[in-house]
Symmetry: D2
Subunit: 279 residues, 4 copies
Amino acid sequence: MLRGLTGAGLGKLESNEQFIELAAKYGFQAIDIDALGLVESHGVDGARELLGKHSLVIGSIGLPVEWRHSEEAFLDGLPKLTQAAAAAAALGCKNCCTYVLPSTDYKAAHFMALATRRLRTCAQILGAYGIRLGLEFVGPHHLRTQWKHPFIWTLEETLDWIDAIGESNVGLLFDAYHWYTNGLTVADIEKLRADQIVHVHINDAPDVPLEDVRDNGRIYPGEGVIDLAGFLQGLQRIGYKGAVAQEILTAAPPTDSPESLVQRSKAGFDKVYAEAGIG
Amino acid sequence: MLRGLTGAGLGKLESNEQFIELAAKYGFQAIDIDALGLVESHGVDGARELLGKHSLVIGSIGLPVEWRHSEEAFLDGLPKLTQAAAAAAALGCKNCCTYVLPSTDYKAAHFMALATRRLRTCAQILGAYGIRLGLEFVGPHHLRTQWKHPFIWTLEETLDWIDAIGESNVGLLFDAYHWYTNGLTVADIEKLRADQIVHVHINDAPDVPLEDVRDNGRIYPGEGVIDLAGFLQGLQRIGYKGAVAQEILTAAPPTDSPESLVQRSKAGFDKVYAEAGIG
Amino acid sequence: MLRGLTGAGLGKLESNEQFIELAAKYGFQAIDIDALGLVESHGVDGARELLGKHSLVIGSIGLPVEWRHSEEAFLDGLPKLTQAAAAAAALGCKNCCTYVLPSTDYKAAHFMALATRRLRTCAQILGAYGIRLGLEFVGPHHLRTQWKHPFIWTLEETLDWIDAIGESNVGLLFDAYHWYTNGLTVADIEKLRADQIVHVHINDAPDVPLEDVRDNGRIYPGEGVIDLAGFLQGLQRIGYKGAVAQEILTAAPPTDSPESLVQRSKAGFDKVYAEAGIG
Amino acid sequence: MLRGLTGAGLGKLESNEQFIELAAKYGFQAIDIDALGLVESHGVDGARELLGKHSLVIGSIGLPVEWRHSEEAFLDGLPKLTQAAAAAAALGCKNCCTYVLPSTDYKAAHFMALATRRLRTCAQILGAYGIRLGLEFVGPHHLRTQWKHPFIWTLEETLDWIDAIGESNVGLLFDAYHWYTNGLTVADIEKLRADQIVHVHINDAPDVPLEDVRDNGRIYPGEGVIDLAGFLQGLQRIGYKGAVAQEILTAAPPTDSPESLVQRSKAGFDKVYAEAGIG
């Protein structure tokens, strides 16, 4: 399982280049980055070279389509999606992810029908380029009532939704924070097949009651109470081999320098990987 | 548009034969009947002959699959579905319908995901036999709060769901009662394409406030307040050529003889077809 | 059925504007034109206005994706397809068409598998924008052996392929020339449903043996031997209401002025529509 | 990887019970057997108990649908398929397989379209029960010209076909004999993902030129020239964990007793598993 970083939790990164250099310097193997932006700034060959010389792969791109609101906004995103998919594929990235909010202002059943059709279209376009779509269920309790109607937030619901979407390239973005806030166990991970998991996020939670854990109250791996060793061991046991990307969402951005934050991230990974007995 | 009957509203029919004979005697051209039952009792050739000599076609069969509850019950219905589809196809029937309750005790979004997948499977099996699946949205207001969570009940939601199911052989069962209780107009019908409509139900409503119309308070066509002439004209204008089947759901079954009820039904059809200017 | 024109057979058109003006001047109601080009040159509003003031609709756009050769070329076309689909939808055009050559240098079964997947992807993208994909089977006999292996060319094969593609928005581009060169009859048209037909091409054939008819030997409607009255009547009988677009493919481009060619086209339409008894 | 047996190569088995007992006695862990037949003769509980007490799982059932000829025959098989799938699922079997002949008397492209649609329907039905469909490409050269037109026989073509079918539960039945006769290498196996492989067959080939290897000239593992150690190592390296079932197709059935043939099979497995360094 590759050590991965997203930009979230690294403070004010000056550039993609800085992100790439710091990730490589501190032993990370994967980054979640905007592949299309990288291709636009460096060209395909330049972007490949930049990643290659730092021995980095792209863990996942984000889904550049607004599927949660109007049909117009959704359709507006599709040309961009084809370009982003082409860029990701050109850089060897096979994953694209989006998150699923656990409540909605729309009527829940109707929104589920719309979202099913829209994400299917996204998956079909991504699939043409050999890219998978990962859906991230979101566990923090406060978000379940943030909008008018409950939507979905559990692992089981998300797996059922993936079946409803019905494309072979759709799977889970499995995030330790949402695993934790859903009250899931290592045994729940072990019931999955590795090929159901598109991408993994890792981060830790403070020692507060489960129902009070805030989505933007995340802390660095190894600094909190989530059983990340068990989380990683479960993933390894089922044969997951992809990236495990840190994503620290916080209410206010950290003010330390990016380098010190990447260093701190490395320390977290060192700790939890060691606890998990993973090389 | 073929004049059609379902058994609902005809009192205590003694047998399929009686149903068929009465329908033919009073000028109906289509009946909604259990094709598999007919094939089991008469054989394919016998059933064809029985229908043929009465110049009747089967308007639609009902979906013999319980898709609204447990996965086990759902799967149990699939062998039966293949048999029912084979029987319907053998008798020249190309339609199969099911209704959609407007509320549910399950979490609405999750149930929508499950139901999408299950109805897709049903549509796929039916499609192998050249049969379409019609979804009937259900309008009466009291049913929207009958179970814990609102599901879907509007035409627009149902069309969006059909898109989410994503099979080319899924369309609407368009029922005059649900059109009326949704407050829809003839213009709403005219926005549809004929190929979006799998089957049509006709029946009338008593003169009570719209929100008080009960699902099982239906009356015979022409005896109530629904603009059935407009309904039929709208359907004709968009080129719908299938069956229009009467379905009178009532709290208590009518006690008149089936023959007098079929006669009454004929009078209703005569009236509303004449008002609509349809031959 | 709308009288329609493609650029093929109109000689050296100077501009889209000339095409539009001539089409309108001679009573045509639909043109097959590059919607994206029109939007790029005039903006969405300008293009709408240009078409609107000439009372013209766009019959169909061409599929801007090379699905017949390398995977790379195929993928390169997808961003363009999203843009073309968005432009077509913005201009109210709901159809996109491509033709199917009756032989191929690739192994036929393998190419069928690849083409099925590629055209499905195209249909899925078009479907997101509410646009249908029409497949044109190609009848002239000489093309059946033009490349190494026979592919498909009959109506039945094409319908079976549409089922294999399996998207609800795929249908036929039905061309009188290919209907004729396949030896089909009016009865074959009457077996179709209108919703299976995405778009129609019309043109005529010289009086030569059927097997000698050349794909690029087409002549103007009414000047040859095809039973175009029967063709149009069949389409009308099944309820086809879309455009019937002339497409005169010739070995050498006609040298007459576009205006005289559009005039000649009008005379042809006048003749065959009159023979068919269509207003 | 589970040691598995099919009935092919075991001579005249007297009953399912004998098959099961011999398989267990000689250390096999999986058998390919008719799950529906077993359920019909023993009931679900009885069949589970029979398999359970012999520590056997069912590797795969065969697809009980004739998808290679008439539409009528195809449809006739669907009710049986639902029953077979239900039986397999009840016994914990998640795989169903069919083979693909490398030539056909039908026009190749048209047959590919028909077969794509039919196998998709089969996959959809199987998928409802959580069962995967494995397609076995068939390599022996003589079969490529056995019927009029070449169809498909390579790994690459089969993977492309799986994409054309477009259901997430379709993968490969990977047979050592077809791997060998296609001239494939261990590196070709290593390019696959384990989740692309539904089931594996193992058997050996005599020392004759590759193009002379006959489909029904198979011999026991370890008695021929195929690099079965490499084959098994490749599968293990990509993480395949399912059954590896022996299937010895011969021109005439072996005349030795089933017990001696199972014993011989065990010796073959012992040898090639040992050579592969698999426990």
